[in-house]
Symmetry: C2
Subunit: 339 residues, 2 copies
DNA sequence: CGCGAGCATGCTCAAATGTGCAGTCCAGTG
DNA sequence: CACTGGACTGCACATTTGAGCATGCTCGCG
């Protein structure tokens, strides 16, 4: 028998086979290269040797694998998302930096609030230390700032003076504990301290001006102005606000602020979603550093934590008075989603 | 007021903070480096510049990220698994190579069987061509080999002769079509062909010997022995076997084989799970190249596809008569799981 | 207070990798 | 059949990365 007979009857499947590509040899090679290179950590040279191709070809195969995403490089660390949020915040708002912390949920809403404040404050204290601020540092008060103070480690800064940025004295049952905050900032650093002996908000603009001009308050205010660094937290508007608890704001003021679109306060100054002063009449009765002056500082660290703090965080960013933001993941996400 | 006052009363949370590590700055840095390096494709130098650290440190951070698997490199191509199976088969059985094809499931068991055979046969034809066999090529017969033949492309080899490896003539209603296979192998390559004019299995060892010594069969058998390359498929034992359909095996033989632990056949020779001849008495009645001689060849390509072919594939590997295995994913997995 | 172990840092040098370029092959075309 | 454009290959060279090593720093211990 000889070759060359007429083509014999063959199954129809021969034609079909063109449709289902059986995986090209080139792709096979690419995957083998990827396995050897990424899994076994061989060099491209070694891969080439095993596969019988030049190292250049291996390089090109790996390149293709990456471009066609046959190989995926993923950052799987649980904290990666936080770092991403930090970078996005920094970019989007032109910040000098951002710290976003992860807050494990406890199940209880109240516990979450406490935990968030605690973790964020801790991070703020650590970050603050890493920034090595010098000269005078201005600080605000509030529950968050109290936590920040509690987390400061001795010797965290070489700053020479700690200055209270806004009024805080109170006769109410719920004191502001602003002096504790300032004292701890001073005690942990060896810096001198300067308190602001005045309420946060007084009854009339006239009294405000009189107090601010009196040396007892005026000198601190001048120091607050001169400080190149400021650390502050932000408050939300609502019946649970420290300003209400401390007796500065009554129901009337609250209602007016709500109507004016206030979302919270920075150094006792209530601002709207867009970052403007919500109620100028109230602002003129507020004692402490104005926001324009806060904005002018070299380094400002804004600390904000807890559910519902998104709007005031965003407002603060819009005011432009935050150079470094320290917050929790939920707030960071909210801000980026609503910016 | 002065600094240095006794440490004020502070919330208990300060102590708690030691427990919940707020994500160390080093880790943060590592993740930022990973993002910049892997996502943005900066060089380590550029990453270092942005992060304010030396390129050495960046390298070490990335190293750590990889070691702590904060970064995962994954090969996601759907065919990656196949390549992995190929490598594993090659390693585990010391093969010269393996081709594993992916068979999309159709839902119907029968269609799957056909599709698997078709795809595997196609892959075998392509791979065979890439191996560029020369001289004489021995071939077996069967449904799978028929498909392989159908997929051969003209000019696929420069071989000079195609030789049938084992007997196949049949008077039954279901012919073996062995001549079609050999003819197509020849027609697509321009090689001469040599058929084996004898049944696969005859009634007595005496007749087998007589036939093998007669020039009509003997010359082909000698050529089969001399060929340096062989291509063959494997059959399963069971009522649907081609040997039954072609009338070589009766119910008695089938039962005896089953009892002897046969799992299938290679060139008409039935073997056990472990790779031994299942029924020597039957083997002495089988016409064609013995397995020892198949094993001695330079290049042998075994093609096996379809559900339930795992045991015979494994047996063939254990016999050591397969240098290159071409099969489907299911069979490859089965073999590796049961080896 | 001095000492040394352990560790992180940055350096030099070599290895590994990417890039631009020139040569080659091949399919399609006039 | 010659030609041409495009894809692919391997090479020389520049860049990037890794490895080993000396230095300096911290921290605990005597």
């Amino acid at each position: 028998m000889l070759a060359g007979a007429a083509r014999p009857r063959m199954p129809a499947s021969a034609a079909r086979s063109r449709l289902v590509e059986p995986l090209s040899g080139e792709t096979r090679l690419m995957l083998r290269a990827a396995q050897l290179y990424y899994r076994l950590n061989l060099t491209q040279d070694q891969v080439g040797e095993r596969l019988g191709v030049s190292r250049f070809k291996v390089g090109r195969l790996l390149d293709r694998a990456l471009r066609e995403s046959a190989v995926r490089i993923e950052i799987v660390h649980p904290a990666a998302r936080l770092v991403e949020l930090e970078d996005e915040l920094t970019d989007r708002f032109g910040l000098g930096g951002a710290v976003v912390v992860d807050v494990a949920s406890t199940g209880s809403e109240q516990d979450d609030e406490l935990l968030a404040r605690e973790r964020v404050a801790g991070a703020a204290a650590v970050h603050l230390a890493s920034l090595q601020p010098t000269g005078a540092i201005g600080v605000s008060w509030g529950r968050t700032m109290l936590e920040v103070a509690a987390h400061l480690r001795p010797g965290w800064t070489a700053a020479t003076e700690i200055v209270q940025l806004n009024g805080a004295t109170s006769q109410s049952a719920r004191p502001t504990r602003a002096h504790e905050i300032v004292e701890r900032f001073g005690a942990t650093s060896g810096a001198a301290i300067r308190l602001m002996a005045a309420p946060a908000i007084v009854g009339t603009p006239g009294l405000r001006d009189a107090l601010e001009q009196d040396p007892s308050v005026g000198e601190t205010l001048a120091a607050a102005r001169a400080a190149q660094t400021a650390v502050f937290s932000m408050g939300v508007l609502g019946p649970e606000s420290v300003h209400v608890a401390s007796g500065y704001l009554g129901a009337t003021d609250l209602a007016a602020l709500g109507e004016a679109g206030a979302v919270g306060d920075i150094l006792g100054r209530f601002v709207t979603r867009a970052g403007g002063i919500a109620l100028p009449s109230l602002d003129r009765r507020t004692i402490g550093l104005p926001l324009e002056e806060l904005r002018a500082k070299t380094l400002t660290v804004g600390v904000v934590a807890g559910a519902g703090r998104g709007p005031i965080a965003l407002a603060a960013l819009r005011v432009g008075c935050v150079r470094v933001l320290v917050t929790d993941e939920a707030t960071a996400s909210w801000v980026l989603d609503h910016a």
